[in-house]
Amino acid sequence: MDLKLKALTKSIWVFHAATSPCNNCDIETLDLLTPRHDIERLGIVLVGSVRHADALLVTGVPNYKTKERLKKLYSQAPKPCLVVAIGGCACGRIIFQESYNSPCAVDEIIPVDVYIPGCPPKPEAITAGLVKLIKKVRGEK
């Protein structure tokens, strides 16, 4: 396995990109940091700049304004960069498919590694998704 990827799975630093969500997936993502779920014990830290991040957590359905920004964010992230789509909107646009301001889903803009569906997914589901992501990168079953 690529040495870079192997090192990456030890402690993933994540950047949170909200592409016009309804806030819920974002709050549940933040909830992961707070005492009940405390994801920092698994080495997962939320960072302030995408240039420090190993993974991009994308929530919401991109609109014309955020679509360009998401592309830019992904291009600024150091590679390899893993992308996690959190919530039904990021996975498949659910109720907003017919909206005039929702040009495409997240995976049509940047490659997505893990989809975590739910409206919103529970913090436990997000943790499970991140664990699956680590296993996938390591090549474990």
Partner: protein, 395 residues
């Protein structure tokens, strides 16, 4: 020589909620002007709603905001029921109480969430962690009643979708009893703390006249001495059947806004308790089949202020027009006067104080207007705010 520099805040932010974009014009430390750019969250919900039938719209408007996710569907069903002849005339008594309980639980969770974020901005991360820790039992209560932590799916034209089971009521009451000491602790930790007081009093003041001029609503207006609350002025649900007070403060600064929100937590807990005690047995749904042609409005006091929905029906199963006015839209504009004149280290806090589903500070970059050279980024700004608190701590 004037050193006018621009600070863009946003649109991206790692720690907060939605993308929004603020442009601060500063001279030295002082904020002289502010531009607010919104539109990063636009999903065309009003237009979408005109293509869905009435039952689906309640689910759609729930997804406007994940924090006020009971207020928007509630305002929508109130508007639809207004066409049918008013909520009080068609909705069963028990459903009114259940709606009130959900609305108030949502207020508790939203105010705790804001309290935590405000604590983070002034460098009290302990307040953040504790507020969010005590928010979890509230989400558990939601999960018990609705089956989901955040989107409740309870509102339905003519009633509610799920009943509160009798065996759940003692558990809910106990959870409320456990919450009360936590709220007491917050009142002690935030309102009696000399450092927090020194930091927040006089910060981002909005006078009563300014608050009226800028059409603020909700806690932002009540902190500036305007005595408005839709729950009392135009009662819906079971608010006219229970005893509670409207909290009004005079000063209009961030401390007053915090006080209003903390004291509202007590009122909310008391309202839910009274509702659980008084709730009659019976039907929860009036089984409405058709919406006749007509127009209706629905007003609900969301945690951030008045939320307004207008629905026009032409007798088909879809709304012809659906207009939504969310409270943050009014409150965010008041930053234009509240933040101007303050320092940069207060700006992040002042912008956050209206609780506008605000975000973004960590993507803050100070640019020199002439050279576009980066001076400081978002982390520096939060650090500035936290350092100011640290300075106050020292004797």
């Amino acid at each position: 020589m004037s050193h006018k520099v621009v600070i863009p805040i946003g649109p991206y932010h790692p720690l907060q909620e939605e993308p929004e974009f603020f442009r601060l014009y500063v001279e030295g430390e002082k904020v002289v002007d502010i531009d607010i750019v919104i539109g990063y969250m636009h999903r065309g919900i009003e237009e979408l709603s005109e293509h869905k039938h009435f039952d689906q719209v309640a689910f759609l408007v729930e997804r406007i905001c994940g924090i006020c996710s009971s207020s928007h569907p509630y305002a929508f069903v109130l508007a639809a029921e207004d066409i049918l002849g008013g909520e009080a005339n068609i909705v069963p008594e028990r459903a009114l109480y259940i709606r009130t309980i959900i609305d108030e639980l949502q207020r508790i969770h939203s105010h705790l969430l804001w309290l935590g974020l405000a604590g983070h901005f002034i460098g009290y991360n302990t307040v953040w962690m504790w507020a969010w820790k005590y928010r979890e039992p509230v989400l558990d209560m939601f999960e018990m009643i609705c089956g989901n932590r955040n989107h409740y799916g309870m509102s339905k034209i003519g009633g509610v979708r799920r009943d509160i089971r009798d065996e759940d009521i003692p558990i809910l009451k106990k959870a409320l009893d456990d919450l009360l000491p936590a709220v007491d602790m917050f009142r002690g930790a935030v309102m009696d703390d000399p450092v927090i007081k020194a930091r927040l009093v006089g910060c981002g003041t909005l006078t009563k006249e300014q608050a009226i001029d800028w059409c603020t609503v909700g806690p932002t207006a009540r902190a500036s001495g305007i005595n408005i609350d839709v729950r009392r002025d135009e009662p819906y649900g079971a608010y006219d059947r229970v005893d509670w007070n409207v909290i009004v403060e005079k000063n209009g600064d961030v401390f007053a806004k915090t006080t209003v929100r903390i004291l509202e937590l007590y009122e909310s807990i008391s309202i839910i308790r009274q509702c659980l005690n008084k709730m009659p047995k019976g039907e929860i749904d009036a089984d409405i089949k058709d919406i006749p042609p007509g127009e209706g409005i629905g007003r609900v006091e969301a945690p951030r202020g008045e939320c307004f929905h207008y629905v026009k029906s032409d007798g088909t199963n879809r709304p012809v027009r659906h207009k939504i006015r969310a409270p943050s839209y009014m409150n965010v504009a008041s930053d234009k006067v509240a933040a101007v004149g303050g320092t940069i280290s207060d700006a992040a806090l002042t912008l956050a104080a209206v609780d506008p589903c605000y975000c973004c500070t960590e993507r803050l970059i100070v640019l020199d207007k002439a050279t576009d050279k980066k001076i400081m980024d978002g982390w520096d700004l939060i650090k500035l705010s936290q350092e100011k608190t640290a300075k106050l701590k020292k004797p």
